[in-house]
Assembly symmetry: C2
Homo-oligomer: 443 residues x 2
Amino acid sequence: MEFMTGVNKKDTVEISEILAGDFEGKTVKVNGAVHTIRDMGEVAFVVLRKREGLLQCVFEEGKTKFDLKDLKEAATVEVEGAVKSEDRAPNGFEIRLDSIRVLSEPVAPMPLAISKWKLNTSLEANLNNRSIALRNIRERAKFKIQEGVVRGFRDFLYEQGFTEIHTPKIGAKGAEGGANMFRMDYFHRPAVLAQSPQFYKQMMVGVFDRVFETAPVFRAEKHNTKRHLNEYTSLDFEMGYIDGFEDIMAMETGFLQYMVDLLKKDYEKELKILGVTLPNVDKIPTVRFDEAKRKVAEKYGRKIRNPYDLEPEEEALIGQYFKEECDADFVFVTHYPSKKRPFYAMDDPADPTFTLSFDLLYHGLEITTGGQRIHDYNMLLEKIEKRGMTTEGMEQYMDTFKHGMPPHGGLGIGLERLTMKLIGEDNVRETTLFPRDMSRLEP
Amino acid sequence: MEFMTGVNKKDTVEISEILAGDFEGKTVKVNGAVHTIRDMGEVAFVVLRKREGLLQCVFEEGKTKFDLKDLKEAATVEVEGAVKSEDRAPNGFEIRLDSIRVLSEPVAPMPLAISKWKLNTSLEANLNNRSIALRNIRERAKFKIQEGVVRGFRDFLYEQGFTEIHTPKIGAKGAEGGANMFRMDYFHRPAVLAQSPQFYKQMMVGVFDRVFETAPVFRAEKHNTKRHLNEYTSLDFEMGYIDGFEDIMAMETGFLQYMVDLLKKDYEKELKILGVTLPNVDKIPTVRFDEAKRKVAEKYGRKIRNPYDLEPEEEALIGQYFKEECDADFVFVTHYPSKKRPFYAMDDPADPTFTLSFDLLYHGLEITTGGQRIHDYNMLLEKIEKRGMTTEGMEQYMDTFKHGMPPHGGLGIGLERLTMKLIGEDNVRETTLFPRDMSRLEP
């Protein structure tokens, strides 16, 4: 009988293993995709693309047992050769090739010049050839950074006593109702796709006190802007036993600090590839919604057209204001008007036209919405009735509050937006592997 | 100007802090939900439910500044009192109450006796009152274990050089086609919900060599069994530069070993609550599909009715066989018939009626399907044509193979099934927070 006993040891080595070991002059076997071939006559540079970066291999006519004519860019190969220090090569070493074994071959020329340092193409062409475009070193680096953001979120929250949850994306009624929901048929019953895990994470506060989820959310918004997607990854948390909504902002600040440290530690290579300067997260200013509007109106000579909402341009100016006034990359805007927040938002007892809620702006773009929620059953019911809503389809959500819920609050962070701002892109599609917008359903 | 500078320090303490510190006789503040009140006359035991477990508080008539009549089970409270060692209390200590402050109160009696050790109710009643039922200590422990499984999957794969990805759940056409897809309207275009991230993770192998995703998948299967859900969490990975599909099974074995170690280390409390004995994952036997059928037929006197498929009863018997023959909790069944596997499965060159694929059975239940995929464009096209399929709607998937793809393979693990088997449950709804099946769309 045969058995599996654990990860198979490979006879091929990775870049980090070569860097960590004493391989000078030694023969190694490595695999990778042929990123570029630069034929100089007697010698050719064959650069392999590996998950850890680029690896320069030197083909020598008469020495390397292979016919260079048979090697194509985009082929995948396994090669053997001696490791040699070389300052001009990526990572400071190259491999003098003894032999090449082709694992797979392309059957068509590349639609994009992915081996260029910057992918010199339109976003449209990039997205239309997405699985190829992402092979570009800079393109793929964006998504390693994104991995770091999600890892940071989870690892920080585990440390803070949060429990990870998985809540359903198909449901009978949405957390915040309204027209923004994708509708579908569920075994002959009408169903919707979750636009947020809001109801579920609140229900789970009664179980675990502190919970989080990193999962897709779906919004049927008819927006076609640089900052909207119809499907995105939401980093959500919800925590009980808070003393006020400031606890939520403080927890988010802690996350951002943890994330920045993690990126510095484990994603230095990608930060360098993209030339990213990480934001300052030591302290994040907070400003009331109405005060922010006033400050911006005064400083930039802008009229306040709608006292109950922030226009995108106003958000941008708030970002600019706090950058100029206190060199802040982030700013918490607090106390949003009650009429612009969902029914479950806790109104400010000092003035119930405002809520104990906030948005976090990053260089003038909203990347988080959060706040304290109503935890008292009667207060919740009263607010629902005052809004002319009914509790139909939310029976279990409502029941949860009948049986005791601690004061609590939480937030949702748009992963793609946060990544976009971190790396200085200006279209959220740049930081989404396979974006979904009003016109794009493929690939 | 006010600033957020990081996580707010609380004046309340958690159970683990008390256990780690020198608190005997000292006054502390703690919060929690009132799990039970046991009134003994002059003294009452008020047990708080906190995220880390139960905490016994002692109310003393005349000493505790509070009227016990005003305290209800399911209220949330903040209490103050002195820590006192007490062997009979959970965690070995109790709190002698000085004062109680009520944070929130229930408005209706509990629908379930959640403070009982075992929730003595039907699954139906449990699911109909899910957010309350999950407050039971044993119920919630299941989902801490589930957290450990997911954490183990991610942390292990990070270590193995995998990159985490987030792929879209709404698409134009499904990875494996067929009738199992939920259909929806996407801005007046027909769309489907992803039944697996298959196409995307394969496309991403060309980018990062090794990728994984932990995300929901959707199956419109008209099954109503104990082991089927219509939405579940899939733990998926895909890896390039494999020497054979054995590399995939070896990687999964490595994950299971890592997971078991993590559960022992960080989830000991929950394992104890549920009385879980972790499975043996040192070595996992492998057996060919046809051989497994034969072995079971011989040993248990069972006729082979369909040589191309495994019936659930046959899977159960294979599990029983390997438990009896070599005390194995898991068994890899390999070389599934080609006609029962999707088009992208790599056929076995030695006999193309079988594939280089496998299922992993855990005590006789399939928890994983995986295998090697076709990486050669022409071979893929040929197989699609031989099956009478077209490449329509899969253009970008197909294009990926035109431009060079390494030999690769991967797998998908059903998180809820794996959790169910780990803790010895027999209905997958028991290990799903809010299950979705043919009749259940709420809560």
